[in-house]
């Protein structure tokens, strides 16, 4: 936008396919490997589950291609051997046996088996990225003006992509979503814990050069949980505070004017009154907003988006919970699965559009452009974790000013000048914690945001009882 170039249709499709594959891949990994063990007790799966009953449960709730009593017995045996070795590796010292784990042993074993299946599946799913993007992670194909992978617009490459897409989408439909519903059905009380107030999405997946109108996941903002009041979001209304962040003080600034001047000292952690984080505090019309799967799904649902609405309504019906329960930790984790299913299904139409273009001889992937002496522009995307904005000013053919506002600063950012907390901080208030020394419940809400930090939550001081308003359950 800053250099005024329109990319060819194939480049737009390939970017959408890469982003779609990113959603499929990331959300599977988040659910099974970064979030599931907050709900699933592996020790119960190993010591208490009956493989035959697990197989019956799995047949009942999912369409997984692998299963059966022998399979679940083998998974259980494999984990037993692992535990008996005395080297527990990544499963060491966790909260196994915690009273907040509520799944029956067989559901624990089913989910644990799928944790291992998903580890393999995600390695294959990531190959979708490598086909057009050289490698995953850190793709190398994106260039201003389009994509560089002109030689990969060939039948064998597209067919390989299609095959991997099918395998991944089948896993989402037949395993991820059924597991999500099965686990959620035992944790319905989490439909009233961990919610926030305002939601914003830049939207993603342009299906023509008309943005934001053609975005498959729409752009919008919803304040005060008003599902009927979703409005178009406007980047001009974004500001960032640094009052509580380890940067030189200054008022709230729009990213075009934003500054990033870190304090020139060993930063002191002063959460009561002073600075306590490297995150800035982004605001929309001066309000904190949650971004990410829940925001995208709520915005789409509020607009009456056909595909999103159908899946949301079906999930609510199957769980027997009202739409109000979406504003919660359960809603956030469910929304992630819902959008994975919807976006994954949509990818087929993009693959077909690419095939149709190649068939008629259109293999254009790049539009030449010239660096202007002066210019400015912004790029708004929605990546798996949430809304991502970039703002640039160009002068003398060089970058004069550059700022970006990323999903985790929206969600995890600190308080602002008026003391208003960011979404995560708001979501944690009122969380019931059975044992402050083992705050499993806190992890559930923190992980539900898929924070982009190696996440270590410390609740070791008895004073935390006041901070989190712990009540016995």
């Amino acid at each position: 936008m800053a250099v005024g170039v329109e990319i060819p249709e194939n480049a737009r499709i390939i970017r959408n396919l890469l982003m779609g594959a990113q959603f499929q891949h990331d959300h599977i990994v988040h659910f099974y490997h970064l979030h599931a063990l907050d709900w699933v007790d592996i020790v119960s799966a190993i010591t208490k589950a009956d493989p035959a009953k697990t197989a019956a449960l799995a047949d009942n709730v999912s369409n997984a291609q692998v299963g059966g009593a022998a399979y679940y017995k083998q998974v259980q045996q494999r984990l037993k051997t692992f535990v008996d070795s005395g080297q527990l590796g990544p499963f060491s010292n966790a909260y196994w046996g915690h009273s907040a784990y509520q799944l029956p042993p067989e559901a624990n074993l089913m989910a644990t088996a799928h944790y291992l299946e998903a580890l393999k599946l995600q390695a294959r799913a990531a190959r979708m990225h490598a086909i057009f993007g050289a490698k995953n992670p850190h793709l190398q194909t994106l260039a201003i003006g389009g994509v560089t992978c002109v030689r990969d617009l060939k039948p064998d490459r597209i067919a390989e992509f299609l095959y991997l897409w099918k395998e991944t989408q089948a896993f989402i439909r037949d395993v991820y979503i059924p597991d999500l519903l099965a686990v959620a059905s035992f944790y319905k009380e989490w439909g009233s814990i961990g919610g926030t107030t305002n939601f914003m999405a830049w939207g993603e997946f342009p299906e023509s050069d008309q943005e934001p109108d053609s975005l498959f996941m729409p752009r919008g903002v919803m304040m005060k949980r008003d599902l009927a009041g979703v409005k178009m979001a406007d980047q001009e209304k974004v500001t960032e505070y640094v009052t509580r962040s380890w940067y030189e003080d200054g008022g709230a600034k729009h990213p075009y004017e934003g500054e990033t001047k870190p304090v020139q000292e060993d930063p002191k952690y002063n959460p009561d009154k002073g600075k306590y984080t490297w995150f800035k505090a982004p605001r929309y019309t001066d309000e904190p907003c949650e971004v990410g799967p829940l925001a995208r799904v709520l915005v789409a649902y509020g607009y009456g988006h056909k595909e999103v609405k159908a899946v949301v309504d079906s999930v609510l019906k199957q769980l027997g919970i009202p739409a109000a329960a979406l504003f919660s930790t359960l809603g956030r984790t469910a929304a992630r699965g819902i959008e994975t299913l919807v976006i994954g299904e949509r990818m087929e139409t993009w693959i077909n559009a690419l095939i149709a273009n190649v068939k008629k001889g259109d293999t254009a992937t790049y539009q030449a452009w010239k660096m202007p002496d002066k210019g400015m522009g912004f790029g708004l995307n929605d990546v798996p974790r949430g809304s991502l904005g970039h703002w640039i000013k160009i002068e003398g053919g060089k970058i004069k000013q550059y700022q970006y506002v990323v999903p985790s600063t929206w969600n995890l950012g600190p308080r602002d000048d008026k003391g208003k907390p960011g979404p995560l901080e708001e979501a944690l208030i009122g969380t019931p914690v059975a044992d402050p020394k083992q705050p499993l419940e806190i992890l559930r809400t923190v992980h539900s945001f898929d924070p982009c930090v190696a996440c270590g939550v410390h609740v070791i001081d008895p004073d935390s009882n006041e901070v989190y308003k712990v009540r016995a359950v």
């Binding site: 990544p90 050289a134 490698k135 030689r151 870190p262 930063p267 030449a368 270590g456």
Partner: protein
């Protein structure tokens, strides 16, 4: 040979054929620069040992892309690597424990395996302001690294950040970030890249398990089996370079014909890595195959030294 057979049988049960497994072992053996005679031995090592070597994986200033890269390994899939080959005692991304329990696990593992564990480090270390720009739970990376790395049997730096400082060490480097070797004044084995190819990590570990020592290194601490030659010298487009056949615009006819990317700013001539041979994601592709010039991501200080990208050397 028995464990190898057992392992192959196990793979078969999980849908991986014995042929595929041996194919992988052959490729890995070749990547490691060992003769074909080692193939069965490599298979044996991957068939799991009685005591899995303990690994403590530290995260400092990084994006977790190197951990993600390792998760993409196939043959052995990462679940085998975690459950049957290695014992990953501490890894913030994949471990179930958090907070105090995670901290305790780190201290217990360092104590229990003092002098025996492999320490893998992902990310750079802040050194300015007493290391104040980078902390975990209030403790500077610098202090954590001093406590843990010095007790390891070997320190493996996974990725360009821990090896050479990476993006946070790029000018003006406000936090005084450095690679681990530099920050601590110790020798480390470096597997640079942004991210590195996981096959080179697996190759290093197998070398350690197979021969009881780390592989031979160059003067930057990089295994010679992976970083002994430039990209340029191994590039399948090399003949186009010799014939003066260059791409001068992405998406052009020359790009479609797979001509040399030198004039698009390719850093292949200055970059030591095995990307053209090993490729990424189970041999699917690598940057030049996708029409993108090499950005030199496994060379020291590449954010300063290799930029501006897309401009001819």
């Amino acid at each position: 040979m028995e464990p190898e057979k057992a392992f192959a049988e196990k793979l078969t049960r999980r849908g991986v054929s014995r042929r595929d497994f041996m194919k992988y072992c052959t490729a890995l053996t070749a990547t490691m620069g060992l003769s074909a005679a080692y193939v069965p031995k490599v298979a044996e090592v991957l068939a799991a040992t009685a005591q899995r070597p303990p690994v403590i994986w530290l995260h400092f200033a990084e994006c977790t892309g190197c951990s993600e890269a390792l998760l993409r390994t196939q043959y052995p899939y990462v679940d085998d690597l975690i459950l049957e080959v290695l014992s990953v005692e501490y890894h913030e991304t994949i471990m179930a424990a958090a907070g105090q329990q995670a901290e305790d696990q780190l201290h217990q593992a360092v104590k229990k395996y003092d002098g025996q564990f492999i320490c893998v480090v992902e990310g750079a270390i802040a050194t300015k302001f007493n290391g104040g720009y980078g902390k975990i739970g209030g403790r500077p990376f610098l202090q954590i690294a001093k406590d843990v790395c010095t007790k390891a049997a070997a320190v493996i730096c996974m990725g360009s950040c821990s090896a050479f400082g990476g993006v946070q060490a790029a000018a003006p480097n406000p936090g005084g970030y450095k690679g681990v070797g530099d920050a601590l004044g110790i020798k480390t084995l470096n597997i640079p890249g942004c991210p590195p190819n996981p096959v080179n990590f697996v190759g290093t570990v197998v070398n350690y398990l197979l021969l009881g020592k780390l592989p031979d290194l160059d003067d930057l601490g990089r295994p010679l089996f992976a970083y002994g030659k430039t990209i340029h010298d191994q590039c399948p487009r090399r003949s186009h370079f010799e014939n003066d056949e260059f791409v001068e615009e992405f998406g052009s006819e020359e790009a479609a014909m797979g001509y040399c990317l030198y004039k698009m700013g390719c850093r292949g001539p200055e970059t030591y890595n095995n990307c053209p041979v090993a490729k990424f994601n189970n041999g699917t592709s690598w940057p030049i195959e996708a029409g993108h010039p090499c950005i030199g991501c496994s060379q020291p200080d590449f954010w300063d030294e290799m930029t501006p990208f897309f401009e001819e050397l």
